[in-house]
Symmetry: C2
Subunit: 339 residues, 2 copies
Amino acid sequence: MVSERSLAVLRAIVQDYVESREPVGSKTIVERHHFGVSAATIRNDMALLEEEELIAAPHTSSGRIPTDKGYRVFVDQLADIRPLSATQRHAIETFLGESNDLDELLGRTVRLVSQLTRQLAVVQYPSFARARVRHVELVSLAPTRVLCILISDSGQVEQRLAELDQPADEATLARLRDRLNEVAAGLTMADAATALSAETEHADRAHAEVLHTLAATLADQAKITRSDRLVVAGAANLVRTEQDFAGNILGVMEAIEEQVVILRLFGEMAADEGIAVRIGRENAAFGLGDTSVVSTAFAVPGRDVSRLGVVGPTRMDYSQSMAAVRAVARYLSRTLGES
Amino acid sequence: MVSERSLAVLRAIVQDYVESREPVGSKTIVERHHFGVSAATIRNDMALLEEEELIAAPHTSSGRIPTDKGYRVFVDQLADIRPLSATQRHAIETFLGESNDLDELLGRTVRLVSQLTRQLAVVQYPSFARARVRHVELVSLAPTRVLCILISDSGQVEQRLAELDQPADEATLARLRDRLNEVAAGLTMADAATALSAETEHADRAHAEVLHTLAATLADQAKITRSDRLVVAGAANLVRTEQDFAGNILGVMEAIEEQVVILRLFGEMAADEGIAVRIGRENAAFGLGDTSVVSTAFAVPGRDVSRLGVVGPTRMDYSQSMAAVRAVARYLSRTLGES
DNA sequence: CTTGGCACTCCGCCCACGTGACTGCTAATC
DNA sequence: GATTAGCAGTCACGTGGGCGGAGTGCCAAG
């Protein structure tokens, strides 16, 4: 059993280590925090914490650093997520408020989060699968080239180029457009896709082929949810904290650029409520054994949930990261919910 | 005056140094290249090259490394841009050919270039200013919210949310849409913007305000060319070559994330024909004194030119970079030209 | 349970030294 | 005049020993 004070010592160790980057010793602790006890007492507590594997000494007679397990306890029990400062909250409102479309909003979001946390920030595109079709537009670029534009009820726009086997004139396209809108409007993307496929069969011969191509394109389009896309910012922060990674920062950067890794990780974190934190070894399966991920979901009504988070060394300021991620996610949910 | 062979020696030094990362000595040269002369002769040539400041010795009695000036001569006179291998050319065709829209094409492009060159790749969005308006679409999201969609003749789609002061119903929007299309279709973005502003004045009172908002939005939209946007990939390559930067790789990464720096750099390179190469100190004004940039323009008919390039340490494989950048830019020009 | 004191451990730093990889120079050769 | 061989000189780099400092663990006393 670890005493109350021992945990306070753990908190002190985590905080000091995160700040100073150096193993923290008993003397440092009594100097910087006002426990009413002497260094020797702290040493006894530290021995306890070491027994519980919450802290470890890099070598004999050196200060202690938190283990992954120690960080875990810190995050679960000890971290106070202090709300952002008024200035920071204001920055969120103004900086994100200027966005004109989803792309820009998400772009600004990652940049903001990476600045607030001084970590690499990642945001996942909201999924499209549950959004409803508001409008379908066809624009002829050339006789056999039609640009299909899909507008969802939340204002997201997706485009796709369709190559037709035979030319289609403007009038034909206009009729097709009306037909498509009639069939698809109001349905979710998934439903619209099947409805369109069915429609293809009843079409008159003359336009069957054209309709087929278009339906297939749109169906395809609906399926390719954008939720498998990430926006990333703040890679420089990863480089800044390079010494915290055991030299294999390259692997981390490659994983980030792969995107798939982070997406799978987010997938696993989807089950977690609130702000989820994955620490060090817990990510070993993803080749991210030295990194921690702090993320949370943000919800867009009528869509699947997507995630927003930061990626950094295990030695990161969890309190700050959690606070920033939470605040921005709340803002996003609110803003996207309105539109 | 430097002799023919001296230049060959310079070429050998650049090639070996790029490959081995280590200062190259006279002995290494005679071993790896078959000049018909002894090491002593090479040393004489090296003394010449050093006098011309084309190479330098990090310290007395060490091999030599090329100076920025040496790289310059190499790039201008000695580098043979050997065409890509058949496999690589094939990769360009297939990998980029799968793209469905401009966003995806550019995304794939940077990823491909960064893989081909093993450097950080950058591509600039084609400018919008000279594209022509093909179609304007208005979609009502809420009584006072209208999504304006702008489709250019090259298939680029831009969206923008407009907040109206007073509600507008579907019928009103339909009339407005027709009006806008009448006025703007076929004009360049810039012309369309002014035409729309003018139109606002003649509008009947009832819809003046709505029209005004929309016109302003579209005009605004047309002005915000996307050419101030960059797509980046391969940051991991920068980290991989970290030791080539004098430790300030952080500055480079920040410059890349700023985007503005690269955009200004591209602006300056716009004057250069063909494949432009900026080496080391030549970029000092941009805080990129240790980096080289290889870039070339790709043209989209009816649009301003934009650029594509790679950013890496001065010690990079210029031949390979130039070849890859050229090949991909040609492919892009060709493909975008068709649509 | 807490505290002061003390011996012990081990990292990091500095320095000295030997080794190896070059160069630059000179004198001889083609 | 260009090229070559040989030789002395220079400097980076790796190695090993010695030293100081920070911090622990333990013990005995309060």
